[in-house]
């Protein structure tokens, strides 16, 4: 996915701030450009300001500072019903006193779309989510997943070019959620719409998005494609928030040509890739993904440093083995090994040496 420049951005937040009470900023200096046809996910812990950003874009909240541009035009003064943005809510917000057909009819009716045209549009929208046979039911007669599909169809039936979704799958069970993720992604691709998606489920964000904006504390911590986000987190928060992560605190001994030497609390020295540390003597947090750790000496890459470890716990999870270790004084260092023929089951109490490629150990800010 090519990052949109300022000029071809479809949606743009320009130094947007938001405060509800006049004291604390819920959104701080938000700059974000979303390209046409992009699937952008806002991911972050509860209270980080994701819904607030979405509501400002939809027009239900006003930005305290800054501009929001849609298709190059500022929309701060455009009332929400004139923005032409489709929305899907977490609780579906299907009108309970109307049938499915009437629900879909509503956006067409308020837009004054002719009767003959409406029928076709409704039918197409329902077929799109495979709910063609449910037009005469009331929302209360549908299951959660079916209601979600109708909500989706209703947000798409008037053919908006931008659709906002605020945790649309939050209320569904895991299996249905995964299925719907696939369907939403599919619709996004076939219709070519721009989607801004809010979730706090990182798996959902990773599988669906072109780019993910990780929110924390009213700021975007990192904005990147899923693989970049996972493999090259820019700071400790992102490293912690996305996927499982081992962290080892230490002090920078030396930095030269993209290599840092870090002394751990127990005195051992390891090599790491400096990300946001700059000088010698600085405190740092080394971040290593569990699946990138190796304990078999012959499998270690060239130039890898090894560290002493003691096995604390072995968990059999079917396709993988999850082993908890004590490393450099910390008790929650986890490694994951695939359950392959040549894999050994480590025993608690066993002493091993573990290692990793220097580029997999990222020296980040100490939080």
């Amino acid at each position: 996915m090519n990052t949109p420049t300022k000029t071809d951005a479809f949606v743009q937040f320009d130094r947007v701030q938001k405060s509800y009470d006049g004291e604390t900023l819920v959104v701080k200096e938000l700059n974000l450009s979303i390209g046409k046809g992009e699937f952008l996910t806002m991911l972050g812990p509860s209270g980080s300001g994701k819904t607030t950003c979405l509501m400002m874009l939809a027009g239900f909240e006003t930005a305290t500072q800054g501009d929001i541009l849609l298709d190059g035009k500022p929309i701060n003064a455009v009332p929400p019903h004139k923005r032409g943005i489709g929305m899907v809510f977490q609780n579906y917000a299907l009108f309970p006193h109307m049938t499915v057909n009437e629900n879909l009819y509503f956006p067409l009716e308020v837009r004054g779309i002719g009767k003959s045209e409406r029928e076709g549009k409704i039918k197409r929208a329902l077929d799109m989510v495979q709910m063609g046979a449910f037009g005469n039911r009331r929302p209360s007669q549908l299951s959660g997943g079916q209601q979600q599909r109708i909500a989706l169809a209703r947000a798409l039936v008037f053919e908006p070019s931008l659709v906002l979704m605020d945790e649309p799958l939050g209320a569904l069970d895991k299996q249905l959620r995964e299925h719907m993720q696939f369907e939403i992604k599919h619709l996004h691709e076939t219709l070519g719409i721009t989607v801004v998606y809010v979730t706090h489920d990182q798996g959902e964000a990773l599988t669906m998005s072109d780019r993910i904006a990780v929110f924390n504390d009213g700021r975007i911590q990192q904005l990147a494609a899923p693989d970049v986000l996972y493999e090259a987190p820019q700071n400790s928060f992102v490293a912690q928030f996305i996927g499982e992560n081992n962290k080892l605190p230490g002090t920078v001994e030396d930095i030269a040509d993209g290599r840092a030497v870090v002394r751990l609390a127990t005195g051992e020295v390891i090599a790491a890739t400096p990300v946001n540390v700059s000088g010698k003597g600085q405190k740092t947090l080394i971040s290593i993904r569990p699946e990138r750790v190796e304990y078999r000496a012959e499998m270690l890459p060239e130039g890898a440093h090894t560290v002493e470890a003691e096995v604390l716990e072995f968990i059999y999870m079917g396709d993988i083995f999850r082993t908890r270790l004590r490393v450099a004084g910390s008790d929650d260092f986890v490694i994951k090994n695939r359950n392959t023929l040549d894999q050994r089951r480590l025993k608690p109490g066993e002493k091993i040496r573990i290692g990793w490629a220097p580029q997999d150990a990222r020296a980040l800010d100490p939080l």
Partner: protein, 423 residues
């Protein structure tokens, strides 16, 4: 636990078998018995304090035991009378004999009073006849001639029609009177003369003033409930306390406060006159008339409208209206098409609740209603306390109760269907 119990009696019950159903019934019965015992005191209380008096009222509204108790022979004789010509001599003799006994037992007054309620003038007739027959030493040759001599009314049919009609234990007389009708001397149902019609106009007034009050509470309550329901929780609770505050103030205190405000030299009139908006001689009459009843009852009943409305509105999340707006509906349209229909059950519940309470209201119209602001309940009280016509009071009360009950069933239907509560 119950599974163990069944397995002890030979294997667990499998699904759908009679054994499973039986053990389910057993378990359910125990639960039901517990529930019954817990509500028993209340059931007893309601039976003694509410149901029995209610049945008593209903009985009073149809009971007509005067004739059967005090004039048994007359009742018996008249039961075979076809009502075409004057009754036979035996009927006259029966009346004479009954009145003699009644004279001895001092009960003839009750007969006289009861008949007088139906036919003015009957009181004097019965008294006169009783005294005159009591004075006779020997029975006359013909009781008929003797009676006609005492009063020529006895020689005409209407008194006999009346006596026959009153012979039955169950009567519709009170209901007939309650809807401003009467029996003509010939025994035909007819409306009372226009000047004497009281109850139908009063029922109509009660209904339409209640409707007006209900409408006003809705007009004031709907925006209020909407506003409170959109407030953050803590503030909303505070506002609901403010709405409910009147509940914790004595009704009499509140009405007195209204009198202070509304009377012709009260606060409001003083302000109007003081500011020069009205001349001193043209002070509007705000109380002791129907206007006073409407103003005060609207205030008194407002919480009963706000509560169900608020309860329904609170359960409607913002996202419905937001969804409608995001689809391009103007906020007003979103409100009317999406929010308002979802509050229909609350409106129904509130309207019925306030209307039901209103048509039976007594104290407020009594204190601030003056002449033209009185309700049917005030007339019922008058019949109970002053004119002592309990039968009529009971008939009016039963009609009111029946109307209320129908409305209440409707209310139960609305609230039961749509899960509205008033808290």
């Amino acid at each position: 636990m119950s599974a163990e119990a069944t397995s002890a009696k030979g294997g667990p019950a499998s699904a759908g078998t009679p054994a499973l159903k039986a053990s389910l019934r057993r378990a359910e019965r125990k639960k039901r018995r517990g529930a019954f015992l817990l509500t028993l005191p209340l059931l007893l209380f309601i039976t003694v304090m509410f149901l029995i008096p209610l049945l008593g009222m209903f009985w009073l509204s149809v009971a007509n035991t005067t004739m059967t108790s005090y004039m048994p022979q007359t009742v018996k004789e008249l039961s075979t009378w076809d009502g075409k010509d004057l009754p036979p001599e035996a009927a006259y003799a029966a009346v004479a004999s009954d009145l003699k006994v009644a004279f001895k037992n001092h009960t003839f007054g009750r007969v006289a009073k009861r008949l007088n309620e139906e036919s003015p003038g009957a009181f004097g007739l019965i008294n006169k006849t009783t005294f005159r027959t009591a004075r006779l030493r020997t029975p006359p040759a013909s009781w008929k001639d003797e009676f006609v001599k005492i009063d020529k009314t006895w020689g005409e049919k209407p008194i006999w029609t009346l006596l026959k009609r009153e012979s039955s234990v169950i009567t519709s007389d009170f209901y007939v009177a309650a809807i401003d009708m009467q029996y003509s001397p010939e025994g035909k149902l007819e409306r009372v003369p226009a000047y004497a019609r009281i109850y139908i106009p009063l029922f109509i007034r009660t209904a339409w003033m209640s409707a007006l009050i209900t409408f006003l509470t809705l007009l004031l309550g709907y925006p209020l409930a909407y506003w409170i329901s959109r407030l953050p929780e803590a503030k909303a609770n505070l506002m609901m306390i403010a709405v409910l505050l009147p509940f914790w103030t004595s009704l009499l205190v509140r009405i007195t406060a209204w009198i202070v405000l509304l009377q012709s030299h009260g606060v409001i009139n003083s302000i109007l006159v003081g500011s020069g908006a009205v001349a001193d001689t043209a002070r509007p009459q705000l109380i002791n008339n129907s206007l006073g009843t409407v103003i005060v009852m609207t205030q008194v009943l407002l919480p009963f409208m706000v509560l169900p409305l608020y309860s329904v509105m609170k359960s409607i999340p913002d996202s419905y209206v937001r969804a409608a707006i995001s689809m391009g509906a103007h906020p007003w349209r979103a409100f009317w098409r999406v929010f308002a229909p979802l509050t229909a059950s609350g409106v129904g519940a509130g309207v019925l609740l306030v209307f039901i309470l209103s048509i039976g209201y007594y104290i407020t119209p009594e204190l601030v209603g003056g002449q033209n602001g009185q309700f049917i309940s005030n007339r019922i009280a008058y019949n109970v306390q002053q004119s002592l016509n309990w039968g009529l009071a009971a008939a009016l009360g039963t009609i009111l109760t029946a109307v209320t009950l129908i409305l209440f069933l409707l209310y139960g239907y609305i609230t039961g269907n749509r899960k509205v509560s008033i808290t």
